[in-house]
């Protein structure tokens, strides 16, 4: 087996795959090490896919937490077939009561393609202002719920501007395969590679009406699912509504229509002699050579056997929590590595997720929500500066509707009253009144009638929000697990309330033809959830932020670790602020940018 490469990339998701694609096409020798399995599409096997349209694959049988030293020992959990097992590879967070709990939040997906296999595929760009939040807030004194002026102190500009990243957004949109519309976006584009969206689900009509009544300019949500043939990846679209299955968010796509990084970026280069993908290989630590370079990548293969490969360049892209952990684990093993990676105290600090939440209503009429993708309409109304000034907010965000959620019967039951994967089934199980006639009435009321509108907005970066290694809890390789310590800033809570109210307004105005009185069932932000400190919205960002000042960042503007010549980190951990939209397209665009930088030096 080959063991020397130009580039060794750890992790095959949004942050890793674009680099692999570009460098492999340019003839560099590339190895991708991926911890998870290589699940294949029907086309890959010429038979059946490893992904199925099967509700029990998204949420399987009950298991119980059996990790010692956690307060939720013994509690039930239900994981999908692509998440790591919580007992084997726990993430641990510190809860309100100061006690530690294991959580499955903070994982994306563990397979080739990473989170992009399971994601809802909402592929928004960040707004230009998201890249300059320090500049934008420096001279403001109208920011609400920020008694200590943390926002001013902690906001950061990115070392690159929207204009710097724009060409790479364009490349990403072209290479990945995304459908949507451009008009009314606050995000200027030099070229338009969107595919044509399919007609929206009829239930989304309420969102249209609501947004129009409120003067919120709307566009069809860019979703990374192909609706036409996609020449860059060689994928064909079967025609008609084939992509509208209802099995979207939390399901891998058996036909490869969802533009995950395997079908879009890795499979197209997988036959090149200079490209190699090793799935089912978990990297355990990195090692230095005698000089100042990281050289050795140590991993465990599918049999548990240790292996080592060497790269001229090492790219870490394990998703933020796991990347930070890998760097910390490497520092434990290698003093020189430690000296360099801890040139300041910022590794793991400024961990970020999103301010996330929304509103939900039971709409008049009933709709077949299973004929859908994850989202139909989006608006940048709440990313406008006027809006931020009116509301005293430091940063904006995106609003979009969810179409496919709860469109299938088991998912309706298991997410009844709980939306995240730690508390799935919980409310339904406890609500013993739902039975017989009353269960029939519950279905009558909720099946095909619920509509939700979500927001995704910036979270205030705080140094105390951080990732560490847990002092006692270890994973199935005996390595310390990630320990997540975070809280919500008062301004985050305020911001979530403001955004949730905007989402509720859309439903109120949409539900009654523009009068604004329609009853909204539920609204709120992540922070209100029972496990509000664990909740991460699947968006794992920060912890190794990039910047121009080496005393204020872990990575330089090229996403290279300061003090290292050849160590790059390109998953969501590079972000100094979390952006006012779902993060993946930005991770991918940045990764294409870094690929260009690497090409110049190889």
């Amino acid at each position: 087996m080959e063991n020397q490469f130009d580039v060794v990339i750890i992790g095959s998701g949004a942050g890793g795959a674009p680099i692999a694609n570009v460098l492999a096409r340019q003839g560099k020798s590339v190895l991708v090490l991926e911890k998870g399995p290589l699940f294949r599409t029907q086309e890959d096997t010429k038979g059946l896919s490893d992904f199925k349209r099967d509700e029990l694959m998204a949420t399987g049988g009950e298991k119980r937490i059996r990790v010692n030293d956690v307060a939720n020992w013994g509690e039930s959990y239900y994981s999908s077939h692509v998440e790591p097992d919580l007992n084997d590879e726990p993430h641990v967070y510190r809860d309100f009561d100061g006690r530690d709990r294991a959580t499955i939040e903070g994982y994306t997906a563990q397979c080739v393609g990473g989170g992009t296999q399971l994601y809802g595929a909402v592929s928004l760009r960040f707004a230009p202002d998201d890249f300059r939040l320090k500049t934008l807030n420096e001279s403001r004194n109208d920011i609400r719920n920020d008694p200590n002026e943390d926002v001013k102190r902690e906001a950061r500009d990115w070392p690159i501007s929207y204009e710097d990243l724009e060409p790479y957004y364009t490349i990403a949109e072209q290479m990945i395969g995304i459908n949507g519309t451009r008009q009314n976006q606050l995000k200027p584009a030099s070229q338009d590679f969107y595919q044509k969206p399919l007609p929206p689900n009829p239930i989304s009509r309420f969102v249209e009406i609501g947004m129009d009544a409120l003067g919120m300019k709307r566009y069809r949500t860019p979703v990374a699912v192909i609706t036409e043939d996609h020449p860059p990846s060689g994928r064909k679209y079967p025609g008609g509504d084939a992509a509208k299955t209802g099995y979207v968010n939390r399901y891998g796509c058996p036909l490869g229509l969802k533009s995950n990084t395997w079908v879009a970026l890795l499979r197209p280069v997988s036959n090149l002699p200079n490209f190699e993908l090793r799935p089912n290989c978990t990297v355990t630590h990195l090692g230095m050579d005698g000089g100042g370079a990281v050289r050795h990548v140590h991993y465990r293969d599918a049999g548990g056997t240790e292996g080592t490969v060497e790269g001229k360049i090492i790219v870490v892209a394990c998703s933020a929590i796991e990347s930070v952990r890998l760097l910390m684990l490497s520092a434990i093993r290698d003093g020189e590595f430690a000296r360099r990676i801890y040139q300041n105290d910022l590794l793991g600090k400024y961990f970020l997720t999103h301010c996330f939440g929304g509103a939900e209503a039971i709409m008049p009429g009933r709709f077949d929500k299973s004929i859908s993708m994850d989202s139909d309409w989006a608006t940048d109304f709440c990313a406008r500066r006027e809006f931020l000034q009116e509301e005293g907010l430091w940063a904006g965000g995106a609003i979009y509707n969810n179409t496919s959620d709860q469109c299938l019967p088991i998912s309706l039951a298991r997410t009844h009253g709980s939306q995240d994967i730690d508390t799935i089934w919980k409310s339904f199980v406890e609500d013993t009144s739902l039975t017989g006639d009353r269960l029939a009435a519950f279905l009558d009321e909720n099946f095909g009638t619920r509509l939700s509108v979500s927001f995704m907005a910036n979270q205030v970066p705080l140094k105390t929000n951080r990732i560490e290694l847990h002092p006692t809890i270890r994973d199935k390789w005996g390595l310390p697990s990630a320990y997540i310590i975070k809280t919500w800033h008062p301004h985050d809570r305020y911001l979530m309330d403001v955004f949730a109210e905007q989402c509720a307004q859309i439903l109120r105005f949409g539900g009654d033809g523009g009068k604004g009185q329609y009853p909204v069932y539920e609204k709120g932000g992540l922070y209100q959830a029972e496990n509000g400190l664990a909740r991460i919205a699947n968006h794992v960002l920060g912890g190794a932020r990039f910047g121009t000042d080496r005393s204020d960042s872990v990575l330089d503007p090229q996403c290279r670790a300061w003090e290292f010549d050849n160590l790059y980190v390109t998953d969501g951990s590079f972000m100094p602020t979390s952006g006012g939209a779902n993060p993946t397209l930005t991770i991918q665009a940045n990764s294409f940018r870094v690929a260009d930088i690497l090409l110049q030096r190889l």
Binding site: G47, R53, K63, D88, P279, A302, L439, G478
Partner: protein, 370 residues
């Protein structure tokens, strides 16, 4: 990838062909092995009460997944292929001694006394073979490791034959043979699940009746291989019988104790009628008592939380009624059909068009194969 081509017409020839070997590539095997089997930490984190205290399976993640039961497809005869499962055995050579030279599997799914040789996946401790087995069946097997017969050290399912011999066991999709419960337990369980589901409302009853009658024998055979018991409402009891035999084996004990409790409760409350035949009102009453946690006459020493059992039962019931029929519930897809019948309007023949995106012959998707 599976390349086997099978063209046959009836159950007898299926039995004849059972055990045919298929080639699966290494990645397929390692995709399961890496996550579930590979590890160095031997904490017993996967024991939720289903294992004895010395059972090494407690260190394995989801040991029940082995052998792997997967769908089957071949381009020549899709409809026939739908009647088959691919069963992949994985044996992991122990680390503390030299790897064996020969590993094979012998079992009731293959021609009698035929050991299927297992190949070693290069540079790994794993030996494997994949065999075609019809859906709807239960089989016993053992490994033969350098001539010695042994039980599967991973798969927790075992069965004791009439002669007292213990064998490893697996079952394929759509299986309706009872594995966990006695007949009387099934009967009470069926009554309990009926009361939870919406189908036993008068309207629901009428629907089920009509729906079952509308399916001819051939349709049933094609879409739902494994001959579902259409006499049982939506097959949920069967689903639970399979679930506690495998994925949620740790809950078998809850059912065993509580079904026994319920039986003796009903006997005491109504000595003249079989527990599964007592009137509906008695089940309703019991249900409400369990929900409140206070069941007069319940033996709290034996099981201290009847409400917990009810919650468990409800989750299992809903899942079984609406999960893919391959899991043994949702008989004839009647759970889905109920929704798609109930929800429609003037413009749409249904507002839950589940068949549109599911594999043929169960569904109508022209491309997706299941």
């Amino acid at each position: 990838m599976a390349t086997g081509v099978v063209t046959i017409t009836d159950d007898r020839s299926r039995a004849f062909l059972s055990g045919r070997i298929l080639e699966k590539d290494d990645t397929y095997i390692l995709n399961y092995a890496a996550k579930h089997l590979a590890r160095t930490n031997n904490d017993r984190r996967h024991d939720y009460g289903q294992y004895g205290s010395a059972d090494p399976r407690a260190t394995i993640c989801e040991a029940w997944r082995f052998p792997i039961i997967d769908g089957h497809y071949n381009e020549i005869d899709e409809t026939e292929a739908y009647h088959w499962n691919e069963v992949t055995f994985i044996y992991r050579a122990p680390q503390d001694r030299p790897a064996p030279d020969e590993v094979a599997v012998i079992g009731t799914f293959a021609p009698i006394y035929t050991a299927l040789p297992m190949r070693r996946v290069a540079d790994t401790p794993y030996f494997t073979v994949t065999a075609l087995v019809p859906k709807g069946e239960v089989h016993t097997y053992k490994y033969k490791v350098d001539g010695e017969f042994q039980l599967d050290p991973i798969n927790p399912q075992q069965t004791t034959l009439d002669n007292g011999a213990v064998w490893s066991r697996f079952f394929t999709q759509g299986c309706t043979q009872r594995l966990s419960f006695e007949r009387w337990e099934m009967d009470i369980l069926t009554r309990l699940t009926d009361h939870i589901l919406p189908f036993r409302t008068e309207e629901g009853q009428r629907f089920l009746q009509q729906y079952y009658e509308s399916l001819d024998r051939q349709t049933k055979e094609q879409r739902y291989p494994g001959a579902y018991r259409f006499d049982e409402s939506v097959g949920v009891a069967n689903f639970i019988d399979k679930l506690v035999a495998r994925e949620e084996n740790h809950h078998l004990i809850d059912y065993k104790i509580c079904l026994g409790e319920i039986k003796s409760l009903f006997r005491r409350r109504n000595p003249f009628v079989e527990p599964h035949q007592v009137p509906r009102e008695m089940y309703v009453e019991l249900y409400d008592q369990m929900a409140s946690g206070n069941v007069p006459g319940w033996n709290y020493q034996a099981y201290n939380n009847p409400r917990y059992f009810l919650q468990l039962l409800r989750r299992h019931t809903i899942t079984g009624a609406f999960a893919h029929p391959k899991y043994g519930g949702n008989a004839g897809a009647s759970g889905w059909a109920y929704l798609s019948e109930r929800y429609k309007d003037a413009a749409n023949p249904t507002l839950f068009d589940w068949r549109r995106v599911l594999e043929r012959p169960l569904g109508l998707d022209p491309i997706y194969r299941g």
